[in-house]
């Protein structure tokens, strides 16, 4: 055969494309259970695992039900009912729970609580002399790892809650520590009441993967969630006043006036022929929520979870907690307003298996989100409406309640991603929609401000859309701005200006761009039809630079009256010597990845007239010259996570310390060392060298990693 023909033969050869789904699944479970993730992400893992285990238990016990292929999408109200008996609940779960392959990409089961019906938190003027957690809706506080009341700082460190005398800065010192068994998720401070949210995750025996053992059924052990209320009128001696507990995983929480609302998910599972029911413990009493108090909606899903909202009065220990439980499908998102909690549940993911275990292709998956509204008024909770819309909700900022309407931005993936904005009435019927925005792109951030919505979509360039929602029946695009990079957090500066924080990008092709440094832009939207960027964006560092603000809005500090904006940054720089001109005649390529060179808080002056001006930088990583210095910037206890101000003092907070600087000129004032676990630079196995394969390209040097730190 001729050479060319032989090439053709090889090129056209039909090759086997065979899958072993069982092996794929078993290996995945094995890898994800390996000790690799154990120490640092034990909590996340349990969160992820819990629903799978439950789903699996249902499968093994209930059997295999073919997944119904859904009919066409429909919008509108779903029927809501309460079970009439335990037997009915049992029957419902058994007949409706089909097989669902748990979708990992989807497993961030965070429910986003967002408050609505209230004014946008960012536009509410600050009156106190100190900053508060950056929240979405005024009057609807969000739990965080750091809180201040203007005199004290309360902060979370692992399983500890630490109270620090913060003001005046010269007298700053640690006053007390509350140490708990479980991990502290977040705290609220309300006068002399400190609310600590704690999660205890069971230790699964297979974390350790001992030598092969007998076949066993994986028992389901629920994580446990505690809500602990302390009287801190004596900050040096906090007193536990009340303790509530519930099974399940913490989803999100809010505080409105005196009440803390906590949302918990608990998988529905069957053991010994019994379906579990949610329980709430108060003190030494444990109350099972009867099936007849549990709502369900007729939205079909493939396994079920109890979503329970608990309301606790932080000021009155005698008032019993109230709760509302709904039986819903898999993972969820959540938004809370001053008057309503909106639970949103993605109904489909592309990993859903067809009968027989075939993975459904994305084209065949019709992604929808079901929305459920629970009215809240103090201790009163009422499940009042539910509905459905196409697409997936990104996070709490994709949702908003305003003027009697719920607005939500979604992305529909599939062959070509599409973006949509829906306006729903309080019955959760869609009154207006704007669909098929920016085909091929996905929403990177959204923000609703009054009658308008700002949406950033991205594929290789960042369009910022300004959408008018003043007519709930006819949302329309007012204007659009195309710039490089993207914003993953949008923050209103005032009624007509928006701060965008994200990354700069260099477009490589039509559908691809390389991320570069962290980018901060100031947008002028006063002319809605022609949004524009004020001046040049401020770009920090090079490719590899990151900021927690990109995924956690609570890391953001902004005060318009003080012209102040502070964000924690991990700064990376590219080592140009690795890209010599001989090999890279066109210069350092866009894909070049930088090394961490600095971590700390970037402090900016921000104003419409002068844009962004760097006031200065504050780091907690000091006097470290060891070879592993770079790793101190990454996730070490010295990494600044939050900042706040009291009066004219800027406080930057890492796990290791609180540093105080003058807000005016950033002059050092004082610092307080915090109790924190000892830390070793990253987890290099002792004596491991980098010279092992894969070598070329993947890893430049062959240097020895500092060993023996484990």
């Amino acid at each position: 055969m001729k050479y060319e023909d032989f090439i053709k033969k090889l090129e056209n050869l039909r090759t086997p494309d065979i899958e072993l789904p069982g092996h794929r699944q078993a290996l995945k479970m094995f890898l994800l259970n390996s000790g690799r993730f154990k120490e640092r992400t034990i909590m996340n893992w349990a969160k992820v695992l819990a629903p799978i285990t439950a789903a699996v238990l249902l499968i093994t016990m209930v059997g295999f039900f073919a997944a119904d292929v859904q009919g066409p999408l429909y919008l509108g109200e779903n029927q809501i009912s309460k079970f009439t008996s335990y037997g009915e609940l049992q029957e419902f779960v058994k007949t409706n729970a089909g097989y669902k392959q748990f979708s990992w990409g989807f497993s961030r089961g965070d429910v986003f609580l967002a408050a609505g019906g209230a004014e946008n938190a960012d536009l509410a003027p600050t009156v106190s002399g100190h900053s508060t957690t950056n929240i979405q809706v005024a009057g609807v506080d969000e739990a965080d790892i750091v809180k201040t009341d203007g005199e004290y700082i309360y902060l979370v460190s692992g399983n500890k809650t630490i109270i620090v005398q913060a003001y005046p800065p010269e007298q700053a010192r640690v006053l007390s520590e509350i140490e708990l068994e479980g991990r502290v998720i977040g705290i609220f401070i309300n006068g002399d009441r400190l609310v600590v949210l704690e999660e205890e995750v069971p230790y699964y025996p297979y974390y350790d993967l001992p030598s092969p053992v007998e076949k066993f059924y994986m028992p389901y052990i629920s994580p446990k969630m505690y809500i602990k209320v302390y009287d801190v009128s004596d900050r040096e001696n906090p007193q536990l006043q009340r303790e509530l507990s519930t099974n399940g995983q913490y989803v999100s929480s809010r505080m409105i006036v005196d009440y803390v609302y906590v949302v918990v998910n608990e998988p529905v599972y069957e053991q010994d022929d019994e379906i579990n029911l949610p329980k709430i413990g108060s003190g030494s009493n444990e109350t099972e929520i009867p099936a007849t108090d549990i709502y369900y909606s007729n939205v079909t899903d493939y396994y079920y979870m109890y979503t329970t909202i608990i309301a606790i009065n932080t000021q009155n220990d005698a008032q019993e907690p109230t709760s509302e439980t709904i039986l819903l499908g898999a993972s969820s998102n959540l938004y809370v307003s001053a008057d309503n909690v909106y639970l949103t549940f993605p109904v489909w993911g592309p990993d859903v298996l067809e009968p027989g275990g075939v993975i459904r292709s994305p084209e065949r998956s019709s992604e929808r989100t079901s929305i459920h509204r629970i009215q809240i008024d103090g201790a009163e909770l009422d499940y009042v409406a539910s509905g459905e819309i196409p697409g997936m909700v990104l996070n709490q900022f994709s949702m908003d309640e305003y003027d009697g309407y719920f607005r939500v931005a979604t992305t529909t993936h599939g062959e070509k991603a599409l973006n949509n904005v829906y306006v729903l009435n309080m019955a959760l019927n869609v009154t207006g929609s704007l669909e098929n925005l920016a085909p091929g792109e996905t929403i990177y951030s959204a923000r609703f401000v009054g009658g308008r919505c700002y949406v950033v979509t991205f594929r290789n360039i960042d369009p910022l859309f300004v959408i008018d929602l003043s007519d709930p029946e006819a949302p329309r695009i007012l204007g659009e701005l195309k710039i490089t990079g993207y914003s993953s957090y949008l923050h209103p500066y005032d009624e007509t200006h928006i701060i965008g924080i994200g990354k700069e990008t260099v477009a490589e092709s039509e559908d691809f761009a390389w991320y570069q440094g962290v980018k901060i832009s100031l947008f002028d939207v006063s002319d809605f039809n022609n949004p524009r960027e004020i001046g040049d964006p401020y770009v920090i560092g090079e490719r590899g630079t990151d900021s927690p603000v990109l995924w956690d809005h609570k890391a953001f500090l902004f005060d318009k009256s003080k012209n102040l904006m502070v964000i924690p940054v991990l700064e990376a720089k590219i080592n140009a010597t690795q890209y010599p001109a001989t090999e890279y005649p066109e210069g350092v390529p866009s894909l070049a990845y930088g090394q961490p060179v600095w971590q700390g808080a970037y402090v900016f002056d921000i104003s419409i007239d002068n844009g962004l001006q760097l006031r200065g930088k504050i780091t907690h990583v000091e006097n470290i010259t060891s070879p592993e210095q770079g790793y101190y910037y990454y996730y070490s206890p010295f990494a600044v996570e939050r900042s706040l101000y009291i009066d004219n003092v800027l406080y930057t907070i890492s796990q290791a310390k609180i540093k105080m600087n003058s807000l005016e000129n950033l002059d050092y004032i004082n610092e307080v060392e915090l109790p924190h676990p000892t830390w070793i630079p990253y987890d290099y196995p002792p004596g491991v060298t980098r010279s092992e394969e894969p070598s070329t390209g993947a890893e430049p040097g062959g240097e020895t990693i500092p060993g023996g730190q484990i």
Binding site: P16, L31, N44, M218, E693
Partner: protein
């Protein structure tokens, strides 16, 4: 943050994912889902042996997980990096009389994981064997390729079965593009002589 559900994630998203996968199970799981079929397919087309493909794929991902912290987004894409590990594993598998496995499928099963899966591994394997047997043309030429030195096997499989570009093959094998081209030429000539 990782709630994007794209069939084929874009590279910028993947880059973020790789970074997070070093400490975040969800992110690693997504990468795994994305790459398992490609890597398994590659190993199967190199070995024409389903049991070997299972073992080598397992080993590849175990190594990848263990070395993820070494991976940096410089001159090589994550996909090439995985192919590189798989290639090394394949070579080791066939070089050594007894391939040292960290984990076998039996082991995975003994640890109870198969109870989590609706698939019966034995039936699955039997069915897959049947499917593989239907690819007679492939098996015939694969049998010949397998008699070539590893350096030729690699380039042929990556070029013609995995449809990788020369540039990518160079990345995966850590060689210059020119070298790959001449290796490929020689490999095809050798194979043609055997045909």
């Amino acid at each position: 943050m990782l709630v994007f559900l794209l069939a084929d994630m874009d590279l910028s998203e993947e880059e973020e994912l790789v970074k997070r996968a070093q400490r975040d199970r969800d992110a690693f799981a997504r990468l795994y889902d994305q790459y398992y079929p490609r890597i398994f397919g590659y190993v199967l087309r190199r070995s024409a042996n389903l049991e070997a493909a299972q073992d080598i794929t397992s080993e590849t991902f175990l190594k990848a997980l263990g070395k993820l912290w070494q991976f940096q987004w410089r001159n090589v894409s994550f996909s090439s990096w995985l192919y590189k590990i798989a290639t090394n594993e394949i070579n080791q598998y066939f070089r050594k009389a007894e391939y040292k496995k960290s984990v076998s499928l039996e082991e995975l099963q003994e640890r109870g994981f198969e109870l989590l899966s609706p698939h019966d591994p034995e039936n699955e394997l039997i069915e897959a064997q049947e499917k593989l047997k239907q690819h007679q043309d492939f098996l015939e030429i694969q049998g010949k390729i397998a008699r070539l030195p590893a350096k030729y096997q690699e380039v042929i499989a990556l070029r013609f079965f995995e449809k990788r570009q020369i540039k990518e093959i160079a990345e995966i094998l850590g060689k210059r593009e020119g070298t790959i081209k001449s290796l490929l030429h020689r490999a095809v000539e050798k194979l043609r002589e055997m045909d």
